[in-house]
């Protein structure tokens, strides 16, 4: 039962809410308030800024495609099966989630850097990873995939198993059941996981910087470009930040819309 909070407690709640709201929104509002909108838009016209935006979009999209294509069936496989060491496997998959970005960058260099066996093999196959756009995709995939996997495993596990059984008795083989029943049923969770991974990939900084470097048009994504400019051209850094804020807000809103209009109203 819900009772009306009375007296001093009601005041406390209101003050705490106001403090939290101010602290969280003020920096974001400040990005847009520091400079007139016209200045921000013209700062985006600068060649390097557009390069960074375009690179961020391309690499994030590529990483997401990889994550969805491999991660969705992988998550379904983990969710369906019960085996020894399953909890350990899930923990390993989630590990990059809590890894400091700098550690992720070092780890990638140690695994597929130019001096390693795998790195040389990739280079021989014509795939340049370090200091190249492909390296950015690898870094983004490495740090963002666990966000999707974690959510996707939970969503598939939450499906009522009799729905999958029913699909089989209605003549659908396991692959058709996965495609026609499991994915649609888990869709809200999968979309939420995609959005989390998208947000993480778009904001990726440390691992990219260490593994792929920061070369304009090649590996300099928006966060790297912001860092690159903030000492020399603060207006350009603000303009790029404003774009990231807008994209992030759009992601958050679209996830809530997919989860139902209620989630927005709430």
């Amino acid at each position: 039962m819900r009772t009306a909070a009375g007296g001093w407690f009601a005041v406390l709640l209101t003050v705490a809410l106001a403090a939290a709201l101010t602290f969280l929104t003020l920096p974001i509002v400040a990005i847009f308030a520091q400079q007139p909108p016209g200045e921000l838009i013209s700062a985006l016209g600068e060649e390097g800024a557009l390069d960074a935006l375009w690179l961020s979009l391309r690499t994030t999209a590529a990483a997401l495609v990889l994550i969805l294509l491999v991660g969705t069936p992988a998550a379904y496989g983990i969710a369906l099966r019960r085996f020894r060491g399953r909890a350990l496997l899930i923990t390993l998959v989630e590990l990059p989630l809590v890894l400091p970005p700098a550690v992720a960058g070092i780890a990638l260099l140690a695994a597929v850097g130019p001096a390693t066996l795998l790195g040389r093999a990739a280079q021989d196959a014509g795939l340049q990873l370090t200091l190249a756009t492909a390296g950015v995709v690898v870094a983004l995939t490495f740090v963002a995939a666990p966000f999707y996997l974690r959510q996707a495993i939970a969503s598939f596990e939450a499906i009522d198993p009799t729905l999958l059984d029913a699909s089989r008795t209605l003549g659908a083989a396991p692959a058709r059941t996965f495609w026609r029943v499991a994915i649609p049923t888990a869709l809200p969770g999968l979309v939420a996981g995609t959005a989390l991974a998208l947000g993480r990939a778009l904001g990726e900084f440390g691992a990219t910087l260490m593994f792929a470097g920061s070369f304009q048009g090649v590996t300099q994504t928006v966060p790297l470009a912001i860092y690159d400019r903030f000492a020399t051209d603060f207006t350009a850094a603000l303009a790029l930040s404003a774009v990231l804020v807008a994209v992030s807000a759009a992601i958050l809103l679209s996830v809530k819309l997919v989860r139902g209009p209620d989630a927005v109203a709430r």
Binding site: D165, R168, T169, R180
Partner: protein
């Protein structure tokens, strides 16, 4: 073994319980698996459907071998053509009613699916609900959509898991009537799982009582009630079920003319085709002609068919002419001199007479 029927003999471990079941269901026959929860009833359905892989066993349906562990044959679930009605119906929430039904029709030409799905729903009086999502359907409507979906593939066997248990009491009578028609029309073997003996008696031709993973006794409802092989079956096959036609009598009572003769009084119920249930321990027996001055409103002239002792209790099978069962003490049976072929008067109170729409 009946040709064209469903034949199974499987053995497997289910946690603590060993499932060990041999069954034979003829085409057009309905066999009810009845028993308490945890007896392994649903596991039998799952084994037949291919959703559970028994360690050892053989399952055949008509000419097809679905499982033969001795020869290493296991047909996957999607190739067994079982119409499976799940307990909570398992409708796909992301699909409308007609798309749920059409899901089972993916082997038909694309253009034929929607008309056939809609026609099936129409036959279950759901034509106007075809575009609704399962979440917006009532319990009874969901059950009919699931039934239409299970029948859509023209199954070789029909498996019904507690088809009425998710429904409220009011919906259940109508759903039971409709399910009875589906079972009669299906020219395939039907396996029905229920924990309710009266439901099994009403819908099935034969009942297999299960306990602890095995079938403890098989037979018609009246045979099980009259001659239970164990105290467990005696307890479980509690209510005797008679059919008849009800009408309103004087002072608000309900009069039921039994099919085959005899009339009963009950205190509540509605006019129309009904099933009447009475517990064997509510029925008293007396010698014919001995006048009875008691409060029982119902007196039926019956013939004694069987006398079966189950511990200190004795089950007396009667023909009224519908099968009826009384449970007495051994002493009473001796004093009355009850033996097969003899006659008696069965009496029970109107208040002990439950009337259910059929």
């Amino acid at each position: 073994m009946s040709p064209g029927g469903l034949n199974m003999d499987v053995r497997t471990q289910l946690g603590e319980v060993e499932l060990d079941v041999a069954l034979d269901v003829a085409p057009g026959e309905c066999l009810a698996l009845a028993g308490p929860s945890g007896a392994g009833k649903t596991s039998v359905l799952r084994a037949v459907a291919g959703l559970l892989a028994p360690v050892r066993g053989r399952i055949t349906c008509g000419q097809e071998v679905w499982l033969d562990t001795a020869r290493g044959v296991t047909l996957p679930a999607e190739r067994r053509r079982c119409g499976y009605l799940f307990q909570e119906y398992a409708l796909f929430g992301h699909l409308s009613a007609w798309r749920n039904v059409a899901y089972a029709l993916h082997e038909s030409p694309r253009a034929a699916r929607e008309p056939r799905a809609r026609a099936l729903l129409e036959s279950f009086a759901l034509g106007d609900r075809a575009d609704a999502r399962p979440a917006t359907l009532s319990g009874g409507e969901r059950q009919r959509v699931a039934l239409a979906r299970a029948l859509a593939r023209r199954p070789a066997a029909l498996l019904l898991d507690e088809p009425l248990s998710a429904l409220d009491a009011r919906t259940r009578a109508a759903a039971s009537r409709e399910l009875g028609a589906v079972i009669r029309d299906a020219a395939v073997p039907v396996l029905l799982v229920t924990h309710d003996f009266a439901e099994a008696a009403l819908l099935a031709d034969r009942i297999a009582v299960m306990d602890q993973g095995s079938v403890v006794q098989q037979g018609t409802a009246s045979a099980l009630a009259a001659e239970p092989a164990s105290a467990f079956v005696a307890d479980f096959s509690g209510a005797v079920v008679l059919t008849g036609e009800a009408r309103r009598g004087e002072e608000g009572v309900i009069m039921v003319a039994l099919d085959g003769g005899g009339e009963l009084t009950a205190l509540d119920g509605a006019p129309g085709a009904v099933a009447v249930s009475v517990y064997p321990w509510e029925i008293a027996l007396a010698r014919p002609g001995e006048s009875m001055h008691d409060s029982a409103r119902n007196h039926l002239d019956v013939e004694v068919v069987s006398v079966t002792a189950v511990g200190p209790r004795v089950r007396v099978g009667l023909a009224a002419p519908q099968p009826l069962t009384a449970e007495l003490s051994a002493t009473s049976v001796r004093e009355l001199g009850l033996a097969p072929g003899g006659r008696a008067v069965a009496s029970f109170k109107a208040a002990a007479t439950r009337v259910l729409p059929r």
